[in-house]
């Protein structure tokens, strides 16, 4: 069963991912059906339990670990990491803390719920943030994906509206030092021989900002796979991504988003445990660059999930 839809802001993306996953699985002979994560899900799982579930849900439902917990309750295996690892990766501040403890570079940050701003006074807190982290800054929801609610802040006057925009998506904001460089994504898959990095994908948005429109409007972004990096730098990027996947205790597949700074050093920006699978998503592009068939990858991951049951 492919789970897609849900009520998160990324419903539309999820439906497209789910459709792509379904088609890819069917193409390699796997019998699969798509299902929404709504009130009809549990009765459906009970009436006709699938051998395994592929979670193509994005946003909280698919990535905060809770749905994985419910599937555990039902005794139904699923592709991807367990509930605990999912919860940690989903919450960007938690994930960044774990990365830093593991010695994996990630930009300096501060994470604050909106309550703290009202209690302590927004101006004072924002001033401290700018003093400490400097400009430009990246503001994004502590939990969420697809670039929704995220903004680059280059002037301090842009910070308050960016915070309000971010808090419309989540009650906690992650404010991060903005590192200029190349945006890259490393998709990691484990087909049975341990996690391996697929070719690195470099992201070049036409208008300079990789926002929602740039991600999901074909033509607005150019992707280079493999990325245009020196072999040495590429190896270091892949190694960093693998280290991040392992540090968070992930399983089967993930996508690690990084920035390669001008000096060639990679820093991890975030980790996605339910990577997008749409026509313009990064993991399918990486698989294609590696000469791998998405359906075969997914079928192998399904077999591995079933074997875990």
């Amino acid at each position: 069963m492919v789970l897609a839809g849900g009520l998160s802001y990324e419903r539309d993306v999820s439906l497209r991912s789910g459709r792509r996953v379904l088609d890819a699985l069917k193409a390699v002979g796997v019998h699969a059906e798509m299902h929404d994560a709504d009130v009809s899900l549990l009765p459906a799982l009970q009436a006709d339990p699938p051998d395994a579930v592929v979670i193509a849900l994005h946003g909280a439902t698919g990535e905060d670990g809770s749905l994985r917990g419910v599937l555990d309750l039902c005794g139904i295996p699923y592709v991807g990491c367990d509930a605990r690892a999912s919860r940690l990766a989903w919450d960007k501040p938690s994930a960044k803390s774990m990365l830093r403890e593991a010695g994996i570079p990630t930009p300096d940050w501060v994470a604050l719920p909106h309550d703290r701003f009202s209690e302590l006074g927004a101006v004072a807190v924002l001033d401290r943030i700018v003093d400490r982290l400097g400009l430009p800054l990246m503001v994004k929801p502590a939990q969420g994906g697809s670039g929704l609610g995220a903004a680059v802040v280059r002037e301090d006057t842009d910070l308050p509206p960016a915070m309000v925009g971010c808090f419309a998506y989540d009650s906690t904001a992650l404010v991060e030092k903005f590192v200029p460089g190349k945006d890259v994504a490393v998709s990691i898959i484990d087909l049975g021989n341990g996690p391996e990095a697929l070719p690195i994908v470099e992201i070049v948005p036409r208008d300079g900002v990789y926002d929602y429109a740039a991600r999901y409007t074909a033509g607005l972004t150019t992707w280079h796979a493999p990325a245009r990096l020196d072999a040495e730098v590429a190896a270091q990027v892949a190694e960093t991504a693998l280290a991040a996947h392992k540090a968070l205790g992930l399983r089967d597949l993930s996508r690690v988003d990084l920035i390669v700074a001008e000096d060639g050093s990679p820093q991890v920006l975030g980790i996605n445990v339910s990577p997008g699978m749409t026509e313009t998503s990064l993991l399918p592009l990486a698989a294609q660059a590696a000469g791998l068939d998405l359906g075969n990858i997914l079928a192998t991951l399904v077999t591995r999930a079933v074997a875990r049951a």
């Binding site: 802001y9 709504d38 927004a122 609610g149 509206p161 419309a168 033509g219 607005l220 280079h224």
Partner: protein
């Protein structure tokens, strides 16, 4: 290897489609279609109120008894039978003496607007339209590479003095305004109606300026308080193109609308429609003709008026009871929509994710302006949801607005003025036609 954009056609697209992108707001509307969400965002009539069994039986007979005609090609202008019925319908609205020869049947009102845009607009021409205006019309004008110049309204509709100023401003800029696009009665999205007195003034101003008038009248029959003022076309035979549809009085799924055009241009419209769609659906035309001939459609319209009046009352009462101080709204006497002005500093587009999280949806005001304004407004629909659901929607929405106000208070006035405002892209900020 070189990079991929996942779109191999980027270099081939026509200029008019550049800038068509998906948007965050469109992503949020994908959630709004779920039953868990109270959607005040759509524009759907309450089709469940139709006598569906009888309509279904009639549609079946159209296939079984008249299939050789109803499933065949038709003529570009539309069937004579339907055009005669359309003239009867218009007579009820006060447009008397229209000839079926001057009626062109279209695929919904939308195709009527598209034909008029193709007929009159060259790239760079200006269209004057109410501000705010119907998003579907803005999309048509954008595709024609025309520029929309919005003219403000108040509670009595389009402001005549502002129209005169707009005409003068366009002339000063060396461009040419070809027509005024107006929805004078129960306007979408504003819900206001152009007053009797102003109707004459607006027509006089346009006549003096040599400006054609495209009168879009989908809602005129849905009056809650007596009859609506006479359409503009009922007052002038020349210079006014009257567009309407059966989408709000019968069924939008059939996609049947029409244009009543001055005699001279009717033939051009027909030829353009043939180039556009060949002919409107023969089956849909036969269905509308049968509906108008054999079923109590006038009673059905009356019943819609009553249902929508009750729902409007429920929505406005809930708003009076629950909306935060500083919120204002229009008081529609017909149609489907209320236009809301938010308290100072609130941004309807920025607030959308919070609303979706609270399981309520609306259309941000930016969906109704070609120039990106409208962040301080939103459109609410009252035709589709039950009075109870409407109240629940307002309850949720009020909570969202209170939270957003609190947030704005914390971050100060500067928070209300985002610096990175994208250029206007009304279609990206409004839902697709399927959203209820």
């Amino acid at each position: 290897m070189t990079g991929t954009t996942q779109d191999d056609y980027t270099d081939v697209y026509a200029r008019r489609v550049r800038g068509m992108t998906t948007s965050e707001i469109r992503a949020l509307f994908a959630v709004a279609s779920r039953p868990e969400v109270v959607s005040l965002a759509g524009g759907s009539p309450y089709i469940a109120a139709l006598p569906l069994d009888a309509v279904g039986e009639m549609l079946g007979r159209l296939g079984s008894d008249h299939g050789t005609v109803s499933l065949q090609y038709g003529i570009g202008q539309g069937t004579v039978d339907l055009r005669e019925r359309i003239c009867e319908v218009m007579a009820l609205s006060g447009i008397h003496g229209a000839s079926p020869d001057d009626v062109v049947v279209t695929v919904g009102g939308q195709q009527a607007l598209d034909l008029l845009a193709r007929l009159f607009l060259d790239p760079g021409d200006v269209v004057l339209a109410e501000g705010p205006s119907y998003v579907g019309a803005l999309g048509v004008f954008q595709a024609a590479q025309a520029q929309v110049h919005h003219v403000p309204m108040d509670d009595e509709g389009l402001i005549p003095a502002a129209l005169e100023e707009a005409i003068a401003a366009v002339t000063r800029s060396g461009r040419r305004a070809k027509f005024l696009y107006t929805i004078p009665t129960f306007q979408n999205p504003a819900g206001v109606t152009l007053s009797e007195e102003r109707r004459e003034q607006v027509l006089d101003i346009c006549e003096r300026a040599g400006l054609l008038v495209v009168e879009d009248d989908p809602y005129g029959m849905l009056s809650f308080e007596g009859d609506a003022p006479l359409p503009l076309r009922a007052r002038r035979r020349e210079g006014v193109f009257y567009v309407s549809t059966f989408s709000k009085t019968f069924a939008p799924g059939l996609r049947v609308g029409w244009i009543l055009a001055p005699h001279a241009v009717r033939e051009k419209l027909v030829m353009m429609s043939e180039a556009n769609v060949l002919c409107p659906s023969a089956f849909a035309q036969a269905a509308v003709t049968q509906y108008l001939t054999t079923m109590p459609w006038r009673e059905q319209v009356k019943s819609y008026r009553e249902i929508y009046r009750e729902r409007r009352d429920a929505l406005l009462t809930a708003m009076r009871d629950l909306m935060p101080a500083g919120t204002t709204w229009t008081n529609p006497t017909g149609g489907l929509f209320v236009w809301v002005t938010l308290p100072e500093g609130l941004d309807s587009k920025a607030m959308m994710p919070r609303a979706i999280a609270a399981r309520v949806a609306y259309v941000p005001g930016t969906g109704f302006y070609a120039d990106g304004t409208g962040t301080g407004n939103m459109r609410l629909n009252f035709s589709f949801s039950s009075p109870e659901r409407l109240r629940e929607g307002v309850r949720r929405l009020s909570g969202v607005m209170e939270q957003e106000l609190a947030m704005r208070a914390v971050f100060g006035a500067a928070a209300g003025h985002p610096h990175h405002r994208r250029r206007g892209n009304a279609a990206a900020d409004a839902p697709g036609p399927d959203l209820a």
